[in-house]
Symmetry: C2
Subunit: 393 residues, 2 copies
């Protein structure tokens, strides 16, 4: 619905294109990680079922007994085949949730270092992009963010990622080392990430307490459609409230799923802060200012959503302390902080040869945002990602 | 910030205005209800503190030991004084959360009937609006929605409200009779509400599990700014998934706080449903269609938020099954389902004589929505409410 057939041709770029299509939200379970999941008896785990197939159980008591899992999760050729099918030139690949969250400090530390090496190799030995110096695959590494870990071990992984030529950032969940991302014990980690110029891709896993979803069988719909964005929204609001963006003003955080509900709730957040002088006095700026310091993937499935997020970014300068900026927000400006993503290999289609509806919808959404011109759309499709990650064609 | 002084004059309507300012989101604890809260030893309760002042504790373990509560919660003169201060001509008054949720079935039944009578009297004996046949106060009644109640007792309250000349709808939380609003046991209630032409004002109280907010002291900010909208979003998504809007297509539901996060997550919701054929097959339309059947208060504190909500309403017709509508959504059309509200007596200012910042911000937001003309803004300020509630000047 809402996807005219013509879009398949119109949006298909060859890998020779000078305006590349770049995917910043695409996941992998590298073989080392998949082996670990196969060795487990509780979620997260990969189980063998009859006929040699495997099922992935991310959370215990997941509806439908887990989802099919196969080479699209770990095989680089499958990632490239998916990219070619959709005209994606370059991908920034990250481990899918739940990352290392379920491991002991010792195992998480060891696996983070091993997986970062694996991911660097996955990218560096992969194909080049056209005849440029660029590769088609770059990576976002992992930190051993688990309870009981030392801050030194986390910073060691930050430095490892910073030294790996094809890792341009890292993916992070919302738990930190057990108390969330507003834990000031993480300040040295933010400092190291900021100093290294790495991008943090903030991604949900836990949602909210499942009592919220009620008794009805709605499959994965509510935890995925609502729980995931609620988690990202909460984590980012807590980061804002903790002053992290005041203390580390050059920190670059990319929010999954277009920031969840944060853009729509940001004026309410600002109003609630404003009515609590103790909280308000801790922050340098109105809460809406900080949304202009964030980056948002364009995984929201609709043009109205994307246009709105870009407006919220644009208006942020009105909310810098002492600002005299007034008037309507120019949504073209905010688009520069938005970046195409697919969420591959999740949301697959029913047959293996067709284009993925989720991908087509997100491309169609970018193409249809009112108020964005060709230049803004090209930026969201790829140019903004290259700028953010410091790559030049 | 962002509120030029001129707005105070520009938005000040006298009660003689032909384009009235109408508040659809304004609360009261009627004396009968306040007495009940005073008699309780656990939350919700009203406690006396030193100096004869009282504190309201809505939830146990609330930060700061409860909020100041006084005549602005129960005294009609205080409500009118607030309305006059802000140029509000007509208010649709509803009991504030947690309504009757904490009561036994017997007490809830008795108190609902008593409070509906009280509210009818509160409105009918109040002042008239200008020299018209209208009053300045109308009410939204209560249903005894608690576990163990009979459906007959709930329908009795629906019929009581329908028969009261100054009650135009009812306010409802999200718990239903214990299993949420997607409980099919409630179908006779929806049927009675639909048949009576009453408006349902859906309002949050519980938020989500407080573990989400972490250990830091952020006052009420996170549960109010995020938890409330998350709850409304979840309840409405569950209503959509349960098919209530397919079974009761004339049901009119007004969402508090501009629908929370539902507009921004609606395309993601539609995509997640689309990838679960079992769930998708239960619904007549794409999830985004149903947003066009809803009404949204304009309590979102920012013009970008309001404009976006109106776009999401406008686009809904593209998502009716079989629709051939294409092209950009005209946000003016969607504005007709949006209605000014204040959330009085919550979010008060620091001194009792100044205009309320929360109110001024919401009026300023309506005045500043890009793409809305004077007629749309007048509608959101009052005309839409009069149409929805069937009142003519």
């Amino acid at each position: 619905m809402g996807v005219p057939l013509g879009i398949f041709n119109r949006l298909s770029f060859s890998s020779m294109s000078l305006k590349p299509l770049v995917d910043v939200h695409t996941h992998v379970y590298l073989p080392r990680y998949a082996s670990w999941l196969r060795s487990r008896s509780v979620a997260p785990k990969i189980m063998s079922i009859e006929g040699g197939e495997e099922r992935l159980l991310i959370l215990e008591n997941e509806p439908s007994g887990g989802r099919p899992v196969g080479p699209q999760y770990w095989d680089r050729q499958e990632k490239l085949r998916f990219m070619n099918l959709h005209g994606i030139d370059i991908s920034f690949v990250s481990t899918a949730n739940p990352w290392l969250d379920f491991l002991s400090a010792k195992d998480a530390h060891e696996l983070a270092l091993g997986l970062n090496n694996d991911l660097e190799e996955y990218c560096s030995t992969g194909p080049s992009y056209s005849d440029s110096v660029l590769k088609r695959l770059y990576g976002l590494g992992l930190l051993p963010l688990v309870p009981g870990i030392t801050i030194d071990a986390i910073v060691e992984a930050v430095n490892q990622i910073a030294a790996a030529p094809h890792l341009k950032g890292l993916i992070m969940g919302t738990k930190g080392i057990g108390k969330g991302l507003d834990d000031e014990a993480l300040d040295p980690v933010w400092q190291a990430i900021e100093a290294a110029g790495l991008v943090v891709f903030l991604h949900p896993h836990y949602g909210v307490d499942s009592n919220a979803w009620g008794d009805k069988d709605n499959g994965h719909v509510l935890p995925l459609a609502l729980g995931f964005p609620f988690e990202t929204t909460t984590a980012t609001a807590r980061l804002i409230l903790s002053g992290v963006f005041d203390r580390f003003p050059s920190l670059r955080i990319l929010l999954a799923h277009s920031g969840g509900a944060l853009p729509q709730l940001s004026s309410r957040l600002a109003s609630c802060i404003d009515h609590d002088p103790v909280v308000a006095s801790r922050l340098k700026h109105d809460a809406r200012f900080y949304l202009g310091k964030l980056y948002f993937d364009a995984v929201a499935y609709g043009p109205e959503e994307l246009g709105f997020v870009s407006e919220v970014v644009s208006r942020s300068k009105r909310f810098e302390a002492g600002s005299t900026v007034q008037g309507e927000a120019d949504r073209r400006e905010g688009s520069h902080r938005m970046l195409f993503g697919t969420d591959h290999p999740f949301f697959p289609p029913l047959t293996s040869t067709e284009k993925w509806k989720s991908v087509v919808e997100n491309l169609e959404a970018i193409a249809s945002v009112p108020g964005w011109g060709t230049s803004e759309k090209d930026g969201v499709r790829g140019g903004n990602a290259l700028s953010l990650f410091g790559l030049q064609i």
